[in-house]
Amino acid sequence: MVAPAIDESQRLRALRRLGMLDTPPEERFDRVTRGVARALSVPAALISLVDADRQWFRSVCGVDLTETPRNVAFCAHVITGGDLVIIPDAKRDERFTHNPLVAGPPHIRFYAGVPLKTLDNFPIGTLCVFDYEPRKLDDTACEVLRAYGAWAESELNAVEARKAFTAAVDTNARLGAVLDNMSDALIVSDADGRIETCNAAAEALLGFPAPELIGASVRTIMPEPYHSDPHGYERYIADYRARRFAHGECVRRADDVEVAVERRVSRVDLHDGERFIHVIRDMRDRNELERLKSDFLAAAAHELRSPMASIYGFSELLLNRVLDPPRQRELLTIVHNQSAHMTRLINELLDLARIEARAGRAFDFRIQSIAPVIDATVASFLVPDKRSAVDVHVPADLPSIAIDADKLQQAMTNVLSNAYKYSPGGGPVTLSVMLDAGHLRIVISDRGVGMSAAVVNRVFERFYRADETTSVRGTGLGMTLVREIIENHGGNVRITSEPGTGTEVTFSLPLAAAA
């Protein structure tokens, strides 16, 4: 047998990687050389590492050597041969007759050695025995030598093996953690359509625990027509190869419900066959979001067209009809008010869209004291004519809190404005701040008309207006904005109200708010 040529520089790199050269003796290697010498009744045994131009002995038994030049080494032959080498009588072997170790001390006559390989299969040394008399090695003795060789090899590779094992376990754990933290479901199937791997998102999306998924046919999770077709998997692969997968697909859950997903399939060739990687994204939320967006746009268009209809219609009447000056003034007032209303509506729509589109990034959170923010809010709030100012109660020594001052001011202003609007009979409007269980609470209350439970349930709804009859209508977005702002602070808004008694709006802001 001709051994495959070995790349010497790679072989040397593998040897150096072990970090064994020129290290002190170790009992775990000496046990091997002592054992093999005794087992084969030979005077000397060595573990030799074949370096670039020397052989260095990791362990010696029965002879006093540390290293020899490579050009005189028997072991070099074992490494190039790749297998057990036996030299019954070196003196009668023309390759070794003139070898200084044969011709001179220690006068070696018999030699036998097996190669020792690294984990990546590079022969880097030998376990060898020798004698000063010629001898033969029977099959049993060869077996013994090979067995001790395997032991020496595992000792040489022990550290690397442990490292490789730890690394494999670690890599597995890391990959597992990454896969299980993916928001998309991941399924890997083999060439026969058996599921081999799945992640936590796949378990959650499909409603099957991993042990039920692994080993099951991919058909289990395929929608119709694949699911009930005994050849569903083959059809699926055929469709895959023909790239006939449409977007807006489904997967079938454990409860037989088919849910909308976006699926991407890719193929990889592994050393033991092909695999299909299915990345499955749950599209239900996205579809729901699209629907909400389109509803919102439709509602926004409706809300904008109503004031526009007034402006357009009244201005046309003003242009085309002869009206007396008081009438003209009346119509112009409507046009003016409706333009103002439309402006408010557009501003609030844009505020809301900005906050939602940027998912919290529109906020500039700073850790600060709340008192100046409340002072600024109350100072800039326009109290309606003939009404008393906001009654403010802010305790001293409040802890600092992460807030966006401008946004919080906007939220408080919206609620204060409602408090005055819905307490037309007068009565105080108060704003109090208090600390409670890790939260800072801002409470704005009025003694106005209040709301029924049904109305309270709807106040956060976009474009919902509690009272359509007031002369200057709100946009129906004020409380929606308030909630967006407070929830972006990690807090919540609570409303308690009773018709005829008044309304209390509470913002709870966590003191350890995630900024």
Binding site: H302, R305, S306, S310, I311, Y312, E316, E468
Partner: protein, 123 residues
Amino acid sequence: MTTDKILIVDDHAELRALIRLTLAPLRATLLEAPDTTIAWQIVEQHRPHVVVLDVNLTKNRDGLELCRRIKRTPASSGIAVVLLTTAAQVEDVQLGKEAGAAAYLTKPFSPAHLLEVVRGLGA
């Protein structure tokens, strides 16, 4: 057909005022309703000749439903319904026609055009 009695149904007070002013030259009796419940009561009691009706009175678009009710009730089926809507989509026009509307205007609308449409119903 006469246009002596006209019912205006819209949830926005200023739009009712606009329509009222628009139709003033007809010298008809103008009735108003802010929602479909009141509108139906007026239809039953006063039998207007024309109803100018906002489709999107609520999110449920119950203006369309009121139109259907007027047209399928024998006593009121002769009433001409002019639908006003913020929606300007083809399918909405189709829905309006199916509901039995005589005319369909989208907001913002031209008062002169509305007057012409209502006048045309009386011709």
